[in-house]
């Protein structure tokens, strides 16, 4: 009932264009920040932080990256996990071999991933839709193959390298879950803020225009080539950073298996379930994907003592797949849209119009 624009008639364009024009949303956001920065690290278990929240943040970043490309710019990519792998291996090498500081290594991994992503984005200048999807699927296999066979990059056996010991600014050791958590959280918050600004600014509008009617976008002055390639670069930058973060703070090693084609599919699923073309949807989708197996485990655990791993995996796939189909049919804009619908109703409540 108090969810209102709060009779504050907007008196400037700046306030009308704020990310959260409604006070309650703003408070909700501040509350989430408080939860993330204070409550989670202080009052939850190490298990929860390492196995749920850190991967949640990383996948939210990666899902946002894919959302930029697929949800905003309308260019499908079903090989996105490969770019996470590029970011992971690149940052491990920058940090472990070349001795760059930690944060620049992670961002550098993102930049190298962006460079590779831009090259794999070149086909989008010529082809669309299904054909582009296949060409991005090819990028998955090409990148995997190169990483595994290029020993200098992928190190030991099966394309696995252990994470080097991490130091922030060269002397603060990142040895506990909480410290790794803060690293992930800070990077995620900053990058998501930048990302939100991009998608609500002119570049984001250009992307959506390309997605909706590419020829009309071109005729109003959008440089299709440039903005599509920028979308690939930005998208794969986020994927690369997410891949690096996952390996540094969650897995503790760079392992090509973490980024196989199933992960690429899962990321498509995340943004479909969460919401195409929204930042919130990237969070919802990633959260859903990370929590789902744990939720099923808990649920089945209340019936049996030991849940067999294969059953768990199968139920997970079936549920996730079923939900993707459900959202594609019933609500193509995902959970984020459902949330907005509820909010719109509340805004006008109790009057239906």
């Amino acid at each position: 009932m108090f969810y209102r624009e709060c009779s504050n008639f907007k008196d400037s364009y700046a306030s009308d264009m704020a990310i959260f024009p409604i006070p309650l949303d703003r408070w909700g956001f501040i509350f989430m920040l408080f939860m993330a920065f204070v409550v989670v690290p202080l009052f939850t278990s190490e298990y929860f932080i390492t196995n749920i929240i850190i991967p949640f943040y990383c996948f939210a970043l990666a899902a946002f990256g894919l959302n930029v490309l697929a949800g905003y710019a309308g260019q499908i990519s079903i090989g996105h996990a490969a770019f996470m792998a590029v970011g992971a291996y690149a940052s491990f090498n920058l940090y472990g071999r070349l001795g760059l500081p930690l944060v620049p290594s992670i961002l550098g991994g993102g930049l190298i991933s962006a460079a590779v992503g831009t090259i794999f984005g070149l086909p989008s200048l010529r082809i669309k839709g299904f054909y582009l999807a296949i060409s991005t699927l090819a990028s998955q296999f090409i990148i995997e193959w190169v990483i595994v066979h290029w020993k200098w990059v992928s190190g030991g056996v099966f394309g696995t390298i252990e994470a080097p010991k991490m130091f922030l600014f060269g002397f603060i050791p990142l040895d506990t879950a909480v410290k790794k958590y803060y690293l992930t959280l800070c990077l995620m918050t900053v990058l998501m803020t930048f990302g939100k600004n991009l998608v609500r600014g002119q570049l984001g509008r250009n992307w959506m225009a390309i997605r909706d009617v590419d020829f009309a976008a071109e005729i109003i002055g959008v440089n299709l080539y440039r903005d599509k390639l920028i979308a690939f670069a930005v998208s794969t930058f986020y994927a690369g950073v997410a891949g690096a973060l996952i390996c540094f703070t969650y897995v503790g090693a760079a392992n090509i298996e973490e980024f196989n084609v199933m992960v690429s599919f899962a990321m498509m699923g995340m943004i479909i379930v969460g919401g195409l073309g929204t930042v919130l949807g990237s969070f919802l989708g990633a959260g859903f994907f990370v929590m789902l197996p744990i939720g099923i485990n808990q649920f089945l655990g209340s019936f049996m003592d030991v849940v067999p791993a294969d059953i768990l995996a199968n139920i997970e796939s079936i549920l996730f797949g079923g939900l993707i189909v459900f959202f594609l049919i019933v609500e193509p804009y995902g959970m984020a849209r459902l949330w907005h619908t509820i909010k719109d109703k509340m805004r006008l409540w109790p009057f239906p119009y």
Binding site: N197, L203, D212, N223
Partner: protein
């Protein structure tokens, strides 16, 4: 009336065919600064094709386009042509359906916004100032077209007439030197047509836009246009003021011929 001025755009001896079909056959026309010019003709006459060539969406097989006294290279991309100052609307709406009315009209400003990607990511100083400045310009257009109450509505959910209006807004937001309108009043009722005719006239008289439009409603065309070019089966069959066109035998025959079919 404007004959003594240099034309803003001159299309010379344009030919284009699709497969065996000759859609335009040696058509020449001029658009003079400050005028409202109409292209009329029966269905399939090649009117839309002409606009498509003028704004670079199609490339002519033969002939040339001269804009502001300079010959245009055939390789020029549509977005470069837009940057020279040509904007248009489409016969079958081409709105960005996933965006709000406001977002669509803001797209008209895209060429005028120069904040780079880093500045936009920070949304700081230059980028924010630029966004606000262009938002103001867009609000003027929203006021001009009287669509204040649908600002935030997704384009896809707007009724047809309003979608047409938003598309006009998007083209106006680009502040083009030449505005091309492909059947801006098609499918509208009388009242809506009068509204659009008013906006077109105001855009021409108050805002000083040069306009070339395609329209089937002869009443409207005769009322608001300074000059008319008539196409039939890809050929230009007449050109002149509304009075001259009304009494032109070829035109009457072309239209009667269509009515008989």
């Amino acid at each position: 009336m404007n004959e003594k001025k240099e034309p803003l755009l001159r299309a010379e001896n344009i030919h284009i065919s699709f497969g065996g079909l000759k859609a335009l056959n040696d058509v020449s026309l001029e658009i003079y600064p400050g005028e409202i010019m109409a292209i009329i003709g029966p269905n399939g006459a090649g009117k839309t094709t002409m606009l498509n060539i003028i704004n670079g969406f199609y490339k002519q097989d033969e002939g040339r386009i001269i804009f502001e006294g300079k010959k245009r290279s055939k390789k020029m991309k549509p977005n470069r042509i837009a940057a020279q100052g040509i904007a248009r609307t489409f016969q079958n709406l081409a709105l960005f359906r996933g965006m709000s009315a406001l977002g669509n009209i803001m797209m008209g400003r895209t060429m005028k916004m120069h904040a780079n990607i880093f500045s936009q990511a920070l949304y700081w100083r230059f980028s924010q100032k630029e966004e606000i400045e262009h938002r103001k310009a867009v609000e003027h257009i929203i006021d001009f077209l009287q669509i204040q109450n649908i600002r935030r509505t997704p384009a896809s959910t707007l009724p047809y007439g309003l979608q047409k209006r938003v598309e006009l807004g998007r083209a106006l937001a680009a502040e083009p030197k030449l505005l091309l309108l492909d059947e801006p009043m098609a499918g509208m009722n009388l009242e809506e047509k009068e509204d659009i005719a008013r906006y077109v006239l105001d855009a021409n008289e108050e805002l000083g836009y040069t306009i070339a439009l395609i329209e089937h409603d002869m009443g409207v065309v005769m009322d608001i246009c300074d000059r008319i070019v008539v196409l039939d089966f890809g050929n230009k069959i007449a050109e002149g003021t509304p009075e001259e066109i009304k009494s032109n035998q070829k035109v009457i025959k072309a239209y009667l011929g269509e009515a008989e079919n």
